[in-house]
Symmetry: C2
Subunit: 260 residues, 2 copies
């Protein structure tokens, strides 16, 4: 049964997609895990970032989410050219589906139910979430076992972490008691900017104790270049700092997953 | 009657709030314009970025938007310590209001109507939009005369521009025929990253012709530091590159506004 990891925060542009794609690819490539990467963001940037290796599927994810009970995410997945990595491709109807979900009974539990069988086919399911706490992100947080929270070193991004943690407290109390924060991942860290970096780190440690992941992701243009090419960082620039740091992250994450 | 400028794109983290705050502050400080900065993002980051100079108001913006017809944004504004600059402070109920708006008649026209009198009190109204194309962003685009589209040099951000331009075409056809794209503002440009920068610029020019603003905003840590302090860039680091580039932007924008 797969471990479901949501990559989420309310703040935009802090590296949710970059982290989702790199982590999923590294777990598949270097840890022999069967990985499904689910794109819960209507932007569809998982597909943009992996455009050369994702083939569109027949059933869109929105159709699975809006079906009467019994539909499975498994129906909406596509293989990639990376062995052991599958994704849910871009679905232009996902945004409209989010609105429709709002009136369904148990609207936040739809994805959890649609992963019931899917979870038995994979070791890890990574959920890329949109920059808000709307129905799709909430579905991600209810379906998840763990949450990884990207945060770039800025007061606005830290504000987004606080908002997410607030939401998680309510979700854990009402909908998903086993939800556990894996940690806060510092992303887009610019080595030249120590004043802001140190201030944010101190603030996170003060508020959340040891929640900071032991790995940090520095600013690395290869990560954006890989997205431009539509390939994962390990295919595009295997010797880059971005590849090394995301491999490190995957090592830490694999260590907390059930053994193969 | 004020010119209303929406700062919008679907992509998260490209500098919508940083641009909204800096542009509004520069027009107020250096161009003698009476400026209202409206925070349409439930994150409330206008208030976070200006926390030392914004005093909370009595009426929240959500109450104005959900009132029966006749309410004005004017009821929900606060002065700042910058002469000529007013803002709508953080409103924790804005996210819930967005959901409720969805069932109202003419749901995208609510802000436009609530600015009818407010527009006569200001020269410029700047709208900071959230990272999506939901009801609040749509209200911003329907109320706006011009749209400024921040885009960092990345394929994902460019994808967000395309999504916004698609939406603008429908909005202009159905709801706001006078809506005009002021231009695409390149933000967070890292001088060291010429391959990606050049590729994105070429792509924007190919698709949108001369839509690129003549000013670009480089990566400048003072902009994030100013946000950490809760002050605008012109108070925090008046001699910084960020301050200079945003002043330039304000000069260009002021030139297309009606003369005082
Ligand atoms: N470590 C990094 N170094 C350099 N660029 C990065 C890094 N991480 C992310 N980026 C770039 O920053 C931008 C934002 O990252 P990304 O799109 O992954 O964030 P996001 O949180 O998923 O955004 P959204 O909120 O829009 O979904 C992208 O253009 C990406 O290429
Ligand atoms: N030119 C710049 N140089 C350095 N940092 C910048 C620059 N512009 C913005 N930033 C930083 O990048 C982050 C994203 O900017 P900002 O929050 O303004 O984007 P946004 O589009 O409003 O995000 P959201 O989609 O979450 O509303 C912030 O932490 C900000 O401090
Ligand atoms: Mg994303
Ligand atoms: Mg913003």
């Amino acid at each position: 049964k797969a471990t479901v990891i949501a990559i989420a925060t309310r703040k935009g542009g802090v590296g949710k997609t970059t982290t989702s794609v790199a982590l999923a690819a590294a777990l598949a490539r270097f840890h022999g895990r069967r990985v499904l990467l689910v794109d819960l963001d209507p932007q569809g940037h998982v597909t943009t970032a992996l455009k050369t290796i994702v083939a569109p599927t027949g059933t869109p994810l929105s159709q699975v989410l809006l079906a009467d009970r019994g539909a499975e995410v498994l129906d909406a997945i596509s293989p990639t050219s990376i062995p052991n990595l599958w994704v849910t491709p871009y679905d232009p109807n996902l945004s409209a589906a989010e609105d429709i979900l709002g009136s369904r009974i148990g609207k936040e539990m739809v994805l959890r139910d649609a992963l019931r069988i899917t979870r038995t086919h994979f070791d890890v399911i990574v959920l890329d979430c949109p920059p808000n706490l709307g129905n799709l992100s909430l579905n991600g947080l209810v379906a998840a076992d763990r949450v990884l929270v990207p945060c770039d070193p800025s007061p606005l991004a830290l504000n987004g972490v606080h908002a997410l943690v607030d939401a998680i407290e309510t979700i854990a109390a009402r909908l998903n008691p086993d939800l556990d924060v894996m940690g806060v991942l510092l992303t887009r860290v610019d080595g030249r900017n120590t004043t802001v970096n140190d201030a944010i780190v101190k603030e996170i440690e003060k508020t959340y104790g040891h929640a900071l992941m032991p790995v940090r992701i520095g600013v690395n243009s290869d990560l954006a270049k890989a997205q431009m090419e539509g390939r994962d960082i390990f295919a595009f620039a295997p010797d880059s700092r971005g590849a090394a740091q995301y491999r490190d992250l995957a090592d830490h994450v694999a260590a907390v997953l059930p053994a193969l």
